[in-house]
């Protein structure tokens, strides 16, 4: 075979590259939203891309990303060859870092001796991530290199490896590294100590931690080390160090010790903490008190109660919160006593504490307050009953509700509504008959409604309310009707409609109001019938308004809404209802709605509202995709509106929409 000339070779090579590049680009294009994971068996193709000096950078980066998942032994050498490449070093590491083959470690160790600059820092990081213990000697050398970026990376990598040799290398480097790198060495040592604790070598860890917290390292290094030192010791050793450091004048170490106690369960720790508070300033007392709360040892309660009763107000508040967190019943009498504290913040904290204090002792205390004669305390007890959801208080509440002389009768009735269930309905029906004052009647009505609404079967509750209607006096009947209005449902609707035909004006009025605000569309036929039947203008207005309100609902099909409006037209006499009708019609996107609006343009009392409704509806209708099919039907109504419009802005809108209608009609 004849050899190709140089030029031919170049051209052939170029063509091969071109084909390869086009193929890769197509592959990349296909990968725009394509699979994150390359197909099995793609490794050779991906390696070929890496080796191809003419392959685009994007293709090489993609290849590295995919080799990160599917790369095996064969890809290690080609990737390692890129570790010194400023542009691709990271991508090569990206591919190598999670490859479990031990040959990766060897390749990375080799690179530690050859790669320079930024890429070297990256290689060191990956060596550390892989915890390659064989790299410690080289890393020990690098941590003394004097190059801040390299020292930082090497110190942390040694820490990740975390064996004794790594710790030794870091100790040796500590006094030599540049000042700005000391933090990394401290962190490396802390990482080593963590490895020692994980491996059961606590004494080695403690030695490092002691070195760190006693050093002049930054606050978080010292604080973290002290906390870890306390927790790494055995129980008595940890407690001894805790006690010692709680007295440290250095706030950092004091705070770290207090935080360590969060994870120390022994009762002795509680004693240490409570004992320490006496000598502390208020700020530090709060920190220790909060630690006692977090730890959850109820043994701290007596000491905390003492602090809750005496001292700086912020300390007392913290102590009150802590005793609530602990939830020991012995705190309850003190909290009750603190309700009368002269400092409002303290009294408020005590009240908040009683509201959330767990267990029956706080319930008992609340009931005791309720049984007393102090009206303010009784009201406070009512509030606490509600917040504590004390259904156990219902018998006492019922008793108070039935007590005509009680000053808190109305409040008790309301609380029955908050706490009661269907078993309290007979009580409420009884109260309905007996209470006289308007406020009390309103409270009964409110409570009845609340109890019924909470029931999973409100229709069943409605039937119980309906059962009371027949024997109720008109005033009480009106209340029951309002309750039924709030409940809704088919049974309630039927009953209220019947009441709307009552001989008693109050009952009829209450029914009309309930129906006028009915929430469900099933009330529409009854509202229409009642509006036609009644001779009372006020009731008629309520029925019509309720009916129009339902016609305005977006969840009712538009043709039905137009039909409802058409029905309403003959019932409407007052301008107010006409405006309501126009407002409803302007939101029904059917040409038929325009037919109903148009006549009102002739009505002098609401002419301009009708014009506005016409233009609003016209604008909406003409935006519909099928506007051409009905645009001609809108023209007469819009022409009429255009002639009647008095406001310049509205007139302009009508003119515009009329032209649109004509254009669309013409283009039909």
């Amino acid at each position: 075979m004849a050899e190709n000339s140089f030029e031919e070779n170049v051209m052939l090579k170029s063509r091969v590259h071109l084909i390869l590049i086009v193929t890769l680009l197509l592959a990349c294009a296909g990968q725009t939203f394509a699979q994150t994971v390359a197909a099995k068996g793609d490794e050779p193709k991906l390696i070929a891309v890496l080796k191809d000096s003419a392959a685009p950078l994007k293709a090489k980066i993609d290849a590295c990303r995919q080799l990160a998942i599917v790369g095996g032994k064969d890809s290690i050498a080609p990737l390692a060859s890129l570790l010194g490449d400023e542009q691709l070093s990271h991508n090569a590491r990206y591919a190598l870092q999670m490859n479990p083959d031990p040959a990766v470690d060897a390749a990375l160790r080799d690179a530690l001796g050859t790669v320079k600059g930024r890429p070297l820092a990256g290689v060191i990081f990956t060596v550390g991530y892989r915890r390659d213990a064989k790299a410690v000697p080289t890393l020990a050398s690098l941590v003394n290199s004097g190059n801040a970026m390299v020292v930082d990376a090497a110190a942390r990598a040694l820490g990740n490896i975390g064996n004794s040799e790594a710790a030794q290398a870091l100790q040796q480097a500590l006094g030599k590294v540049p000042a700005e790198c000391k933090l990394a060495v401290y962190e490396g040592l802390a990482r080593c100590a963590e490895s020692f604790v994980a491996g059961g070598k606590n004494q080695d860890a403690i030695a490092i931690y002691e070195q760190l917290y006693k050093s002049n390292a930054p606050h978080h290094v010292r604080g973290g080390a002290l906390r870890a030192a306390i927790l790494a010791r055995d129980a008595s050793g940890g407690q001894k160090l805790l006690q010692e450091q709680l007295a440290n004048s250095d706030y950092i170490l004091f705070s770290a010790a207090a935080q360590a106690s969060h994870q120390m369960g022994a009762a002795e720790v509680t004693t240490i903490l409570t004992g320490a508070t006496k000598a502390l300033v208020a700020d530090r007392q709060i920190v220790v008190i909060q630690a006692l709360g977090v730890r959850g040892d109820k043994g701290a309660t007596p000491a905390l109660l003492t602090m809750a009763q005496n001292g700086e107000p912020p300390v007392r508040v913290a102590a009150i919160r802590a005793v609530v967190e602990l939830g020991d019943g012995s705190s309850v009498p003190v909290l009750v006593q603190l309700l009368d504290d002269g400092n409002r913040e303290i009294a408020k904290a005590a009240q908040e504490g009683l509201a959330t204090f767990p267990g029956p002792k706080a319930d008992d205390a609340v009931m005791q307050m309720f049984a007393g004669t102090n009206t303010d305390k009784q009201r406070m007890a009512l509030d606490l009953m509600g917040r504590r959801r004390m259904t156990s208080g219902l018998p006492a509440l019922v008793q108070t509700a039935n007590s005509v002389d009680s000053k808190i009768r109305t409040d008790a009735i309301k609380m029955i509504g908050e706490l009661g269930g269907s078993e309290q309905l007979p009580t409420m029906f009884g109260l309905l008959k007996n209470v006289q004052a308007f406020q009390e009647l309103a409270a009964v009505e409110q409570s009845l409604t609340a109890i019924c609404l909470r029931s999973p079967d409100s229709d069943q509750q409605a039937r119980q309310v309906i059962g009371q209607l027949e024997k109720a006096e008109p005033t009480q009947k009106a209340s029951l009707i309002r309750v039924l209005g709030a409940l809704g449902g088919p049974s309630a609707l039927q009953a209220v409609c019947a009441c709307a035909r009552s001989d008693n004006a109050d009952v009829r009025s209450a029914s009309a109001r309930a129906l006028g605000t009915w929430k469900t569309i099933d009330a529409a036929p009854s509202l229409l019938t009642l509006a036609k039947e009644t001779s009372n203008p006020a009731e008629k207005t309520l029925f019509v308004r309720g009916y129009l309100s339902l016609a305005g609902r977006g969840d009712v099909p538009a043709p039905d809404r137009v039909a409802m409006c058409r029905q309403a037209v003959g019932l409407i006499a007052r301008d107010e209802e006409k405006r309501l009708l126009l407002g409803t019609l302007s939101n029904i996107e059917l040409p038929e709605a325009m037919d109903l609006i148009s006549p009102y343009v002739d009505d002098a009392g609401i002419r301009q509202e009708a014009v506005l409704a016409a233009v609003t509806l016209g604008e909406k209708l003409l935006k519909r995709d099928d506007a051409k099919s009905f645009a001609d039907k809108l023209v007469p109504a819009l022409e009429k509106a255009a002639q009647a419009a008095s406001d310049a802005t509205v007139a302009n809108r009508v003119k515009t929409v009329l032209q649109q209608a004509k254009d669309k009609a013409g283009a039909k």
Binding site: V37, G122, D250, E352, P358
Partner: protein, 436 residues
């Protein structure tokens, strides 16, 4: 750049501020100690990568009476200037200092106690780790980790340096969501069997691997593209990325599953007492989003990923639903109240939420919970473990979709069981020098 910030002392600022809320004011006691904030102290706050979303969070933070925002950093000039304007307007001065480089910002502002980090997803974990290493407490937006390894890094760094960390899972501090959680915890629903979690109904589990067309790189002062990319693989500049167009790109995003799952998985795992673990099984579903995937926890409770395109389960975003053998509760954004199988439970709303706050000392304000914990050193509601374990669920569900097969996961070892390929997704090498 000049650093002409005035270094207002905490007390000087306090002197100009309005009265501060009880109960933490103790006069003339202990002053701040370089990053550890006693209860009476003002918290000095800085910002990292605050953009549109971040400015909402900052707006919640600035009114807090014991917080003083002093500086922000961002590789984009327009964004850092936006934050400066917002903060200076609030305080009526021109003291907010801006930094283009996060390293310089963290190294020099030793006066800052805590940072609000609201970068794009690619930077969340790295920025949080760098800030915690510098001794700052961190409030970080979600999704707060791109890989399982990043989540582990956040957990270990927070523990190592006893930093307070809050992921921006604000629904964990909202009344309706808390009420739903408490209904479940207190047994109203009976024995729990199913958790349903909303995933974003747009996009897919598979993401883009293409590059947007290269555009001329702006001056570094305007846009530091290397810093913007951070630990992600390099790609050429296109301004679209910086305007939110990074979403749905594999290097920058955690898919439709992470977009909402970061919130909803955390929500359901916290509610079910499963916040310190993650599911042990993931069942692949043959669609493009993971809709309907069932992930099962070791106790048998099932987590179902729901796109709910038809709105049959929720009528709002980021919904969760808990189902027990005695009832259910559902909640999503925009609800005035929870939807429950038994309306009588709603009467207990206030009590359950109040009791929760007293029991946990966590208020119904996510940013307030963070600031309280900065002072008390308690665990936040969206602490590193909550973030990491729920994000591990996100990552595992994504891997299940990408590999198109069922997965088993060992929450103790934090690795997929007998699946070497899946395990390779647990970490991505970070681009130097942005390594952790």
């Amino acid at each position: 750049m000049s650093h002409n910030h005035s270094h207002l002392s905490r007390r000087a600022f306090l002197g100009t501020a309005a009265a501060i809320a009880a109960p933490y004011i103790v006069p003339a006691s202990v002053f701040g100690r370089d990053g550890a904030v006693p209860p009476s102290e003002r918290i000095i706050l800085g910002g990292i990568g605050i953009g549109n979303r971040g400015s909402h969070v900052l707006n919640w933070m600035l009114p807090e009476p014991d917080v003083q925002f002093v500086a922000t950093c961002d590789p984009q000039k327009a964004r850092r200037e936006m934050v400066k304007k917002m903060v200076d307007t609030r305080y009526g001065n021109s003291d907010c200092v801006v930094y283009p480089d996060i390293r310089e910002f963290l190294a020099t502002r030793t006066d800052i106690d805590a940072v609000l980090s609201t970068t794009g997803d690619r930077w969340h974990a790295t920025a949080a780790i760098m800030a915690m290493r510098a001794g700052k407490d961190v409030y970080s937006e979600k999704p707060s980790a791109m890989t399982i390894a990043e989540g582990q890094g956040v957990v270990s760094t927070a523990k190592r340096f006893r930093r307070v960390y809050q992921s921006g899972l604000q629904r964990l501090s909202e009344g309706n969501f808390t009420f739903a959680n408490e209904l479940l915890r207190l047994g109203y629903l009976g024995k729990l069997h199913t958790l349903r979690a909303h995933i974003a109904p747009w996009d897919a589990a598979e993401m883009r691997h293409d590059w947007l067309p290269e555009q001329p790189l702006p001056p570094k002062e305007e846009m530091d593209w290397d810093a913007w990319l951070g630990p992600c693989p390099w790609r050429p500049y296109n301004s679209e990325y910086t305007r939110g167009g990074w979403r749905n790109h594999y290097d920058f995003h955690t898919s439709c599953i992470g977009e909402w799952g970061a919130h909803t998985f955390a929500q359901v795992q916290v509610a079910a007492g499963l916040a310190e673990t993650s599911p042990v099984e993931y069942k692949y579903v043959a669609n493009d989003s993971g809709d309907g995937m069932v992930a099962t926890f070791a106790n048998g409770v099932k987590l179902v990923l729901e796109r709910d395109m038809a709105g049959k389960i929720w009528h709002g975003s980021c919904g969760v639903r808990y189902e027990g053998d005695e009832g259910w509760v559902a909640i999503a954004d925009g609800y005035s109240k929870c939807e429950v199988s038994n309306p009588a439970w709603m009467g207990d709303f206030k009590k359950l939420v109040d009791d929760y706050m007293a029991r946990t000392q966590r208020p119904m304000s996510h940013v307030r919970n963070f600031f309280d914990c900065v002072k008390s050193r308690r665990l936040t509601v969206a602490n590193p473990v909550v973030m990491h374990r729920s994000m591990s669920t996100v990552h595992a569900a994504n891997v299940c979709m990408w590999l198109k097969r069922d997965m088993k996961f060992d929450p103790a070892k934090e690795e997929f069981v007998n699946d070497a390929e899946a395990n390779r997704f647990r970490s991505r090498a970070m681009r130097e020098p942005w390594t952790i």
